[in-house]
């Protein structure tokens, strides 16, 4: 799946809304630390054709939620990060199946983007052992924010060494 340039913006704005960089306290990503677009594309491209259509539709429905929820006449990209989080939180808690599940579909990509960023994972405490950071995880808060989004790991690095087709 290839994204239109407007979709690039919507992916970034929407996924960023789950964990705003502007929140005080909690796990707060640094500006540019998480590559949301790559994670979104990796998840979408690995999915079934039907799921891929669903994920794209979910992106548009969620990105346009401020309008159809009557929050503001704007897409997610037009809201502050804090406001985006409020909209997403409301959708995830909705008693209606569709908004809830579509928001969850997008949240999966956001969670994958966040937790597959080593520095974020290190701050999540998942790898802490008895209250101490896991030895293999570098302390990252001291590191400067990445300028460009970081690329995800190469997925099939070593094609030649694996016969695959015998």
């Amino acid at each position: 799946m290839k994204l239109l340039s407007i979709e690039h913006r919507l992916v970034r704005a929407t996924l960023e809304g789950f964990a705003p960089t502007t929140t005080e306290g909690g796990l707060v990503p640094l500006e540019g630390e998480v590559d949301y677009v790559s994670a979104f594309l990796t998840v979408a491209n690995a999915s079934t054709d039907r799921a891929r259509i669903g994920i794209r539709a979910a992106l548009w429905v969620v990105a346009l939620a401020p309008m159809w929820m009557g929050v503001a006449f704007a897409t997610m990209a037009g809201l502050s990060q804090a406001k985006r989080a409020e909209v997403l939180d409301r959708m995830l808690n909705s008693s209606s199946f569709l908004p809830r599940e579509l928001a969850l579909l997008i949240k999966i990509s956001a969670a994958f983007a966040l937790m597959s960023t080593r520095s974020i994972r290190a701050r999540s405490g998942y790898d802490r052992r008895g209250g101490k950071p896991a030895p293999h995880v570098e302390p990252v808060l001291a590191r400067p924010a990445a300028k460009k989004p970081r690329a995800l790991p190469v997925l099939f690095p070593d094609r030649a060494s694996n016969p695959g087709v015998a």
Partner: protein
């Protein structure tokens, strides 16, 4: 015309290399018969399987876990798609075929020879020895499981350490990514190398599209050779079977293949599921879910139609599972070492169907849980919440829509017990699948006979979980292997006699 890339021939051609296909290959190759295995996923060495969840799932899990049932409220059906099938991503939990199920199969389906007590026991013994089956040692259980054991003791529930095919497990909790230590004896590191050692050949990235049938007998398989990165068609393959074709492509893909090869009738009917839904809880002390065997403790509640298992979640999935977005969610994300997750798996009674769908290799799966199934799920989830509070959870996240997302006191569990829970309120997923080409003596009510040969086509066998006529209500891998072990041994013996 697509170019022909692979042409081959063997006594037996086996489609699929999961629990069923690999076991058939192991037995037939050891008997000195020539075997070709076909697998539509890649062959991955353990050291090339990524540790990061995103690329790992992309490589080895079918469609990243997004393959779902169809209908208004779809839910995922998880399967592996690589050499080793679903065993290459599973937790290695081992359960023998429950005795009530065995007797029912004899009574109602006439499967006496297939599941004859002594013969089946011998197959279980051999497999357990060859695949390093042991009870999970307390040392590597991890706190997620230990908490569950504590809850079981406190409430007098019949808990026990899980038996797994991983004697050398060090509790790294990464079974989904493939065990880096090769402790877990999934098919890719056990029966497939063994079969290859005994002369079997493996063609990975070969997606069977049709069994070739001539004069009412299966004579070969043809299909597509796929590119390993893009999964686009590179060309065709054809493998001739001198003696028989064995379909072991799983409960979803076996009936699709059989129907595409011209079989009909009950093929694809009687789909049965043992799906799960999970509860997450926060504890004041660290749980550190990532330390310990992926699954280590279980509470079988067979009389009530469910079982409970401890289940490690990688951080990506744990973050998804914690409710909400924004500051409250971000706060939870800083303490991922404080969460535990336990799942309830339901022996559902509903039946569904699998049919081929439009496209090269797609399936239309219909399954709707019944009222009683949903009530059992509610009972299981409520019990898990109670157990969690009993051992000190401060916040419990039942994951049921239209109910509070967070429970803070044990009295709130009543809300679950009293709720009218619909399928759309639950987040279920199923990886234990049964039926769709069921075995039985009577051809009017089954697809294959007690020898697992199709009633309608000679020399066409089904050897995977599709042949199970009923829902086991327990983890199926071991039963699949033992049933296939026996059927393949009898097939090998019959060939020797014929020769």
């Amino acid at each position: 015309m697509a170019k022909m890339m692979i042409e081959d021939e063997a006594d037996f051609v086996i489609i699929g290399t999961g629990a069923g296909g690999a076991t058939a290959a192991r037995v037939l190759a050891a008997a000195g018969l020539s075997v070709v295995m076909l697998e539509e996923g890649p062959q991955l060495r353990t050291d090339e399987r990524p540790r990061e969840l995103l690329p790992a799932m992309q490589q080895s899990m079918r469609d990243f876990g997004t393959f779902t049932t169809r209908g208004a409220h779809p839910f995922p059906l998880l399967q592996g798609r690589m050499v080793g099938g679903s065993t290459a991503i599973n937790s290695g939990i081992i359960w023998r075929l429950p005795e009530d199920v065995r007797l029912d199969w004899i009574d109602r389906f006439g499967l006496d020879e297939l599941v004859e007590e002594k013969g089946l026991e011998r197959a279980f013994d051999v497999i357990e020895k060859e695949l390093d089956v042991v009870e999970t040692d307390e040392q590597i259980q991890g706190n997620n499981a230990r908490k569950m054991a504590e809850a079981a003791r406190a409430l007098g529930l019949p808990g026990r350490a899980i038996h797994r095919n991983s004697r050398k497990c060090e509790g790294r909790g990464e079974c989904l990514q493939g065990c880096a230590l090769e402790a877990r004896q999934s098919m890719d590191v056990s029966y497939i190398p063994k079969a290859i050692g005994d002369g079997a050949r493996l063609h990975a990235m070969c997606q069977a599209s049709r069994v070739l049938i001539e004069g009412g007998r299966a004579v070969g398989v043809e299909g597509w050779v796929l590119d390993r990165d893009t999964r686009k068609n590179l060309g065709r393959f054809r493998v001739r079977a001198r003696r028989a074709v064995i379909v072991a492509a799983s409960v979803i893909w076996t009936p699709v293949l059989l129907r595409r090869s011209g079989l009909s009738g009950l093929v694809g009917d009687r789909l049965q599921l043992h799906p799960g839904s999970a509860v997450v809880a926060r504890f004041p002390e660290p749980i550190t879910m990532g330390v310990g065997a992926t699954q280590a403790y279980e509470i079988p509640m067979r009389d009530r139609g469910f079982k409970i298992e401890s289940l490690t979640l990688p951080p990506e999935m744990l973050a998804t599972r914690l409710p909400g977005a924004g500051p409250a969610w971000q706060q939870m994300l800083t303490e991922l070492d404080h969460y535990a997750q336990w799942a309830g798996l339901i022996r559902m009674r509903a039946h569904g169907t699998v049919r081929p769908a439009f496209g090269q290799h797609d399936a239309d799966v219909r399954y709707t849980p019944g009222e009683r199934d949903l009530r059992t799920m509610r009972e299981a989830l409520a019990l898990i919440c109670r157990m969690m509070f009993t051992v000190g959870a401060t916040e419990v996240f039942p994951g049921i829509a239209r109910l509070p997302q967070v429970l803070r006191h044990i009295s709130e569990v009543d809300l679950i017990e009293q709720a009218d829970i619909k399928q759309s309120d639950l987040h279920m997923m199923a990886s234990h699948l049964f039926g769709t080409a069921v075995a039985g003596r009577d051809s009017a009510t089954s697809v294959v006979g007690p020898d697992l040969q199709c009633h309608d086509v000679r020399d066409l066998y089904v050897m995977d979980a599709s042949v199970f006529p009923t829902n086991l209500g327990v983890n199926p891998q071991h039963s699949i292997m033992a049933v296939v072990f026996r059927a393949a041994e009898r097939l090998a013996n019959s060939q020797a006699i014929a020769a």
